[in-house]
Amino acid sequence: MASLADKLSDILNSAVNFGPELLLVSGILLLIVVDLMVKSSRWLSVVSILLATLVLVTDAMQWKLLENPVALFSEFLMLDSPAAAWKVVLDIGVLLVMIMAGRSVPLKSRGESYPLIFTLLLGGHLLVMASNLLIVYLSIELISIPSYVLAAFHFNKRGVESAVKYLLFGAVASALMLYGMSWIYTFTGNLNFIRPEFIDALLNADIIPLTIATVLMLSGLLFKIAAVPFHIWAPDAYTSSPTAVVALFSTVPKLAGFSILAKWFLVINLFGLSSIDWVSILSVIAMITLLIGNFSALRQSSVKRMLAYSSIAHTGFMMVAIVSVSEQASRNLFFYATVYTLMNIAVFTLVQLLEHKENITKAEEYKGMIRKYPFTGVLIVVLMISLAGLPPTGGFTAKLLVFTSLWEAYDYTQNPVLLYLFLFGLLNTVISLFFYLKVPFFMIFRERSDPQKDGEQKNVVWENYFVMILVLVILFLFFKPDSLMDVINNISFAF
């Protein structure tokens, strides 16, 4: 039993490595105060972007300086290089969303949205570092509760409807997860799931209650990453929330969920010793997720709803990396996550732009837009190609890497389910083309219904340049994936 003094000094020592999060918390408080004092939303926006940049920089520095994994706060958190890297990705996501929110009327009209988004980011930070079930639960709630509120930010009928459904569905999912946790705690007597005794205890537990508990526990994580069967909230929430919020939902919580799922998957798999074939189970879930995501996207008329299903399908692709269980697969997942963040936020920025300027939401309403917004149109085409995973974009490289690691996993284990997943995933890539290219098709090959004098009209908007930078990065990641891979290769996923 450590003495009180030891415990207090542990807290102080941990606080040193907790800089980015402390910064975040102070930033949240600052934003609340600024919101109360300043009327103009511009200042809030500026402060938010600054804060996001600062957090990004501190996280990046932390990652760079980190040598060995550090346990923080009585081993509640484990700051290792994957966690540090994931935090950077989440920060990038939030920074981009903050920039994008510059055009989001609903977010700007209520200053509370900014602290809420940063709270969500804080939850993400804690979740990627979590090594304790309690922190997993708390940080998932810390992500969820701001999400429920943000989903309602249109404050119209559809907005609050989607919020209430999201809330009830999320509450049930987290209750299921909690119940699973209570059983797991029963078996292990320990909340710290990266300790060897935790794994030992799980190995000794009776298989039937263990299975029940693990699956219940998984449901909460599947909810966060929007995988089948906990994906149903996504289309409704995406359709009715402000677009900037959708961009946020589709990236930050999902990626944080993936990082913890990747960690947790190793635990429930008991590092390969489990008598239950979790790899196959998750592979089947991934296949169904791909199937439902892609096939349902085919028939959607609303662009945001289509992108919701597309993000479900991307969940399936990222799960491919998780079931491949290898260090390289984790790296490839990381690559995928980075590219996914960039392209998803970029495409939502343009969707938001057109929604704002032209008040259009449906794919067929995009007809002829390339003549009014030639630059925007070209960017959308590139982004859709990237989302579909075609060359020459980073989306292609990401898919290629993920499937490479899946193939290696199959080659190593000879598990036929992985082979089916491999072929099924490839097939789905082809299918996904049809809906991704629907919007470009309407933009290019259909005349506008109100042919005004276009062309002379110069539509110079900052979004074009913002997205252009993102697109250039995406293209760059195709031609020079090593530039990112070299950075990722420094992450030690040893666990």
Binding site: V164, K165, L168, F169, V172, A173, L176, I208, T211, I212, V215, L216, S219, V228, P229, F230, I232, W233, I276, I281, L291, I292, F295, S296, L298, R299, Q300, Q328, R331, N332, L390, P391, P392, F396, T397, L400, L401, T404, S405, W407, E408, D411, F422, L423, L426, L427, T429, V430, L433, F434, L437, F441, I444, F445, R446, E447, K480, P481, D482, M485
Partner: protein
């Protein structure tokens, strides 16, 4: 893990020059995209110069590689774990020949379009997409790696999609573009499957490396084992070949995916000449050449049969078309079928030979057809007439007004029919001989079905002669039918004539062989040779037998094919020569026998696909989304049925025990109301039920 890893190969002057060839069209694409509309004309002229330069460089390189040494450069693109992804450039003889062809035809199309597309409002866009297309086509040709080829393959698909849909305001053009795109996707699925099997087995997609690796692999006890010990079942080898072939089927419009090519004629005519005659459709054949050594016997047989079926079906479909370009489109399909016969019978060199001869005379035909359309269009414009300028029923007698176009059309027609002294005769004769030799050899080992290939090929010769003579007669002979007088029609301007003349010259037999009656003397076949098959299970001895047999029957084949040409041509002359009653009937739409309807509608393939594929797919995707959104309602149906059932049972008890029929009716109506109400219900409950149910099911499945 052991893996085949391709080595780094440094850049050489030749490969760097090849990069320049790639860069020039891409620059043209960028230039035409970026300039403002004011300078569109200048930009397009600059593009023509780029193409001149590019053609010149490619000829220089061709002369260099014809000495026999291919140039290959390769660098490591990126690595994932232990695996290196490479990319590189391979300038071999076949590749450079095709590079020259692509560049030259593209140059001629660039020049031709300066006039043809002069007044089009999408002029700038048109030139920029031409540049993009040329760039991506050259990419396919020069890449050394299946993955890179696939990328350019996609890019070719994209740019052809954009070019077909050039006149996107026409509903038909937009639909044709989409159709081409979708059909090509099916082919891509095959390509991906083929690539993934190769990847599974060898962990590399570098073609040179694959050749080595494939040569080291062997078959043992139904298993396909690589030199490094990776094992797959033998069926994967066949599946790989079929997958790659499916990719080629999509691009080269072979049965059963040929439906997109006729519709693609909605694009501008020069585009049809470039894409749908000379280059893009040839990509499939060329690609088969690249992976030829990886194919096994089963796949080759499938290729031969598909090729012959396509050749025949395409020729039949060309018989009764009204549209001048559609005849040529179906003819292209049919000729591509010939090339695949060549691939399938192992005569890869002959297939490439036909590819090149065909590229020139078909481009000439398309551009000449464009000249005709252009002339009629000018007429319609001047006289304010409105008629379909592509419908041959509106043409006739143009010989006198467009003598040069007529001459060129005739030359290329003779080449296409395979008349001696013209290029088509050489290559077609060679392919026919090869198919005969193949069938003879195979039938010796009991495979009599193989005769289907030469039989269909020979039938196609007669059909080809028929539809081409018919077309020439309808367009250039007889009386002009669209208007009273044909005064407005004039020969096209110089910029259109020059490309036509160049292409026509390339259709003369002497250009290709000193002795225009014997393909064996062709310089082309000296520089191109069939790559040695390395696939396990291929018996090289059979190949020699095939070659021997084709040599034996060569004279017989030539005579037979000439006779068939005369037969077909004579039949067409008899029917469509000016002032026959049949012609009159045809023009008044009375001669529509079931046979000609079958031909006109391309064997009703579109309709069949509509029924067999499109409708079910619609059904599936509709029900997928319905299940997704309404799955709960389905569950409610079940609940409703259970409710009715319970209601019925209770009702039955009611009726029997309390003797209350009236009571029952009241009860029943009440229940029906409840059921009806239960349909309009909050989905959220259903969502939660469904999710929890899935979780329970997963648990039960595990236990």
């Amino acid at each position: 893990m052991l893996a085949y890893s391709p080595l780094y190969l440094p850049w050489t002057s030749v490969t760097l020059l090849s990069v320049v060839i790639l860069v020039l069209p891409f620059t043209s694409f960028l230039l035409n995209t970026l300039v403002t509309n004011r300078y569109a004309r200048q930009a397009s002229i600059a593009s023509c110069f780029f193409m001149v330069l590019s053609s010149f460089i490619s000829v220089v390189i061709l002369l260099d590689v014809m000495k026999g040494v291919p140039h290959h450069s390769r660098f490591i693109w990126f690595s994932a774990g232990t695996i290196d992804f490479t990319a590189g450039l391979l300038a071999g003889t076949a590749a450079m020949l095709l590079t020259v062809t692509v560049n030259v035809v593209s140059l001629l199309v660039h020049l031709y379009s300066l006039v043809y597309m002069r007044d089009d409002e999408g002029y700038k866009r048109y030139y920029s997409f031409l540049g993009l297309f040329t760039f991506s086509m050259l990419g396919i040709v020069l890449a050394d790696n299946l993955l890179i080829i696939f990328m350019f393959w996609e890019l070719v698909g994209l740019s052809s999609y954009l070019l077909i849909g050039h006149w996107y305001t026409k509903e038909a053009a937009a639909r044709a573009a989409r159709k081409a795109f979708i059909v090509n996707r099916i082919g891509d699925a095959g390509f991906i499957i083929g690539m993934s099997v190769l990847w599974m087995q060898f962990q590399t997609l570098d073609i040179e490396m694959l050749k080595v690796a494939m040569g080291q692999s062997y078959v043992n006890d139904g298993l396909w084992i690589t030199g490094l010990g990776h094992t797959l079942e033998l069926k994967w080898l066949t599946l790989m070949g079929l997958g790659l072939f499916l990719g080629a089927v999509g691009k080269s419009a072979q049965f059963p995916l040929q439906v997109w090519l006729p519709d693609a004629m909605e694009g501008p005519t020069p585009v049809s000449a470039l894409i749908h005659a000379a280059t893009m459709v040839a990509a499939g054949v060329f690609f088969m050449g690249r992976v030829f050594v990886l194919l096994n016997v089963e796949v080759l047989s499938v290729i031969a049969i598909i090729g012959s079926i396509t050749a025949f079906m395409g020729a039949v479909a060309a018989l009764a078309q009204h549209d001048i370009k559609k005849v040529l489109a179906y003819s292209t399909i049919s000729q591509l079928g010939y090339m695949f016969i060549g691939v399938g019978t192992g005569a890869m060199d002959l297939a490439l030979f036909h590819l090149f001869t065909h590229a020139f005379f078909k481009a000439a035909l398309f551009l000449a057809a464009g000249s005709v359309i252009f002339g009629l269009h000018e007429l319609a414009h001047q006289k304010k007439l409105s008629f379909d300028t592509q419908d041959m029923r509106n043409m006739g007698g143009l010989r006198s007004k467009m003598p040069l176009t007529f001459a060129i059309y005739s030359i290329s027609t003779l080449a296409l029919m395979g008349v001696p002294m013209f290029s088509g005769f050489l290559s077609k004769d060679a392919l026919l001989s090869a198919s005969v030799g193949w069938a003879m050899t195979l039938s010796e080992s009991g495979m009599v079905w193989s005769y289907i290939v030469p039989i269909l090929a020979f039938l196609t010769v007669a059909l080809t002669a028929f539809y081409m003579i018919r077309q020439v007669l309808l367009v250039f002979f007889g009386r002009f039918r669209a208007a009273e007088k044909m005064e407005g029609i004039m020969e096209s301007p110089m910029l259109i004539k020059v490309p036509l003349i160049i292409l026509a010259v390339m259709s003369i037999g002497f250009v290709w062989s000193l002795n225009p009656f014997d393909y064996n003397t062709s310089w082309f076949l000296d520089v191109i040779s069939v790559p040695d098959m390395v696939t396990p299970g291929v018996d090289l001895a059979i190949k020699f037998e095939i070659v021997k047999a084709s040599g034996q029957y060569h004279i017989l084949v030539s005579v037979a094919s000439v006779l068939l040409v005369i037969l077909g041509g004579a039949l067409a002359w008899y029917r469509f020569k000016p002032n026959t009653s049949y012609l009159a009937e045809y023009l008044s739409d009375k001669a529509s026998s079931p046979m000609s309807r079958l031909s006109l509608n391309n064997w009703y393939l579109d309709e069949a696909y509509q029924r067999v594929i499109v409708l079910p797919v619609n059904l599936i995707s509709r029900s997928a989304s319905r299940v997704e959104t309404n799955v709960i309602d389905r569950a409610v149906n079940v609940v409703g049925i259970v409710n009715v059932l319970i209601a019925y049972i209770i009702g039955w008890l009611d009726r029997n025990i309390i003797d209350g029929i009236i009571n029952f009716s009241v009860f029943f109506v009440d229940k029906v109301g409840v059921i009806a109400k239960s349909f309009q219900r909050g989905k959220i409950h259903g969502y939660i039920i469904l999710s929890v149910l899935c979780i329970l099911l997963i648990i039960l499945l595990i236990l």
